[in-house]
Symmetry: C2
Subunit: 357 residues, 2 copies
């Protein structure tokens, strides 16, 4: 057996619970992770970092270099959600997004933003006839319109010009597309759909299309097609079952994955991995949903997305069989109990009971 | 009565049927337009221009300067759809989009792309519980990511860099936002939602938000809110009834309006106006759907979107009462007959019969 195939059994995890319901759902994810790893002799050593809106209000710091350095030393990061109440004007709009979330993605080179979309039995899709929804969006995470390029001229005047520059590199697109093909190859349907808008965004679009065409040659058993982003929102409404793996840019992926969360029965079920597939820095796993300050403290938050994010983390750490156990327990739990409010800790307890059974 | 209030009764219309089902649906729109204008003493003098994929294959020209000049002389343009079959490799991808559709929008300064989304009685939404869908998207049409700025470096190599520059001007955003507020003001619910992604696209986002805040002061009875584009795709799935007027940028508008078409029961019903609200050049009205080469010639294309686009044109030409008659006839027709295939000409005939009744 090669050294690469040896799986570590001890992992150092940074836990970033965040604000609002973040700590509540992360607590359930941790509970489930412990329940599945302990009997397998796998240990997760957790260090909690208090980052988010409350932390910023307390300290005036979002994410300093020292914390960033410490985060880098972990094997993975489990993240809850951050953000103050929308009417809390003390936290400047966009501050946590840029200086925490995007800083982590860019700083830790999370170039694959992996977002599975699954319609679980026992849950209700808002679509009248959803069919079998089971696809994964492979969203670029470190360039495109999120690059933070652009600026303003004559700022604040009636002659202002504001630009946003989407920066796309062959390197960035290639590593993303390769990841997507490998994933598609490993799945039953082996289908990959590039989503872009290459009839209008010709420069970035051609780079994506050319890269997909090139990489496709190494994956002859993966079926490839292309769809414009606008058409993709139609098919996510009328025929989401057609999708298997979607590869797309940072902004289109942002949009499609929220829509995917909606059609599968709510983003309370949607997990997300911010993955550095070269493993030069820790990857980060989180629910797609936000901090939901309106229901924080009521004990009603749905922890399923956070638990599923924990399973993605186990898979990334080299424990696909443990990830699988969690996924199956969650699926069975949803099938039996649906998503009606059972209470946050109750859901965690039920999943744990199933793992022990 | 001021001269501006006098409505012309004679209009010169450029008709661009295009390819595929374009000519078929435009024929029905023209039939309906004639049926409603004739008895009212309004005349539409039509000149047909053969533009599109077939025209390009015949002549090697997409849209020459001479034709552009002639189009400028008309009072309005009625457009069908353009595009060859997807597997017809003779027409370069993106050619018609850029050199015809976008050239018209930019050349004729169609800065408002107006797209109503209505769920008609008698039609079926793919949403299980759509509620009352009746909103309008006011999409920017002449800047943003569609500006055609950007380029490539080290093109075609493994070190390629491809950029897309979204260009947004205070002038461009202001005239759009004013139009949207005026529209919101005229509607029953008087609600305006700005959709953007100002937490990430901060430069363009701030310009939009500031402009909305400024213009809002002149419209105190319009309720204003803000939503990120990703959240908007969720609410279009879970609660589309909450929207009244959405104002948004060119790319977000492209995406939202296709999703809006899907949730209201198919883009076979969605009309669109490319409007130069300063009237320095003719506005253009079209169905949102494409040329659907697969069903062209079968006589089954749904002409409703084209007919509704004709009604938008009548409104723009100063005949709101005639537009209203067409809209009511279409609504009654859908309520009675639904969208099941009746045949393209049959739908036109039925709407005409209703107008005459
Ligand atoms: C909060 C925001 C910066 C983020 C994004 O746009 O990527 C979020 O919407 C997401 O999808 O994770
Ligand atoms: C054909 C294409 C250029 C166009 C757009 O992106 O605007 C279309 O999708 C539309 O919405 O009218």
């Amino acid at each position: 057996e090669s050294p690469a195939a040896e799986t570590a059994r001890h992992h150092s995890i940074a836990v970033l619970p965040g604000d609002g319901i973040g700590p509540e759902v992360v607590a359930e994810a941790v509970k489930v992770l412990d329940a599945v790893t302990d009997p397998a002799g796998v240990t997760l050593e957790k260090t909690t970092y208090p980052l988010g809106a409350a932390h910023w209000l307390d300290t005036g710091e979002v994410l300093n270099e020292d914390t960033m350095e410490r985060l880098r030393q972990h094997d993975a990061i489990l993240f809850g959600a951050v953000g103050a109440a929308p009417n809390d004007r003390r936290v400047p709009s966009g501050l946590l997004e840029r200086d925490l979330l995007l800083k982590l993605r860019f700083g830790l080179d999370h170039y694959v933003n992996l977002r599975p979309a699954t319609h679980y039995p026992g849950t209700t899709s808002p679509l009248a006839d959803p069919g079998t929804i089971d696809f994964v969006v492979v969203r670029e995470g470190t360039e495109g319109p999120y690059a933070g390029n652009g600026g303003t001229l004559r700022t604040g005047t009636e002659h202002e010009i504001a630009t946003e520059v989407s920066v796309n590199t062959a390197h960035g697109v290639r590593r993303l597309v390769r990841y997507a093909f490998e994933l598609a190859q490993s799945r039953a349907r082996r289908k990959l759909t590039l989503v872009h808008k290459h009839n209008v965004l010709v420069n970035a679009g051609r780079l994506y299309q050319r890269t997909v065409d090139e990489v496709a040659e190494q994956f002859p058993d993966v079926t490839v097609d292309y769809m414009h982003i606008d058409a993709a929102t139609i098919f996510l409404t009328t025929d989401p079952a057609r999708f298997d793996v979607i590869v797309t840019d940072n902004l289109f992926g942002d949009i499609l994955t929220d829509q995917a969360g909606a059609i599968t029965g709510g983003i309370g079920l949607a997990p997300s991995g911010n993955i550095n597939a070269d493993r030069t820095a820790p990857s980060m796993f989180e629910p797609v949903h936000g901090s939901a300050p309106d229901i924080a403290g009521t004990g009603t938050a749905q922890p399923t997305a956070a638990i599923l994010a924990g399973a993605m983390m186990l898979e990334h750490l080299g424990h696909p069989e443990l990830a699988d156990r969690v996924n199956r327990a969650v699926r069975a739990d949803l099938e039996e109990n649906g998503t009606a409010t059972r209470g946050t800790t109750r859901v965690g307890d039920d999943v744990v009971a199933r793992l022990r059974a």
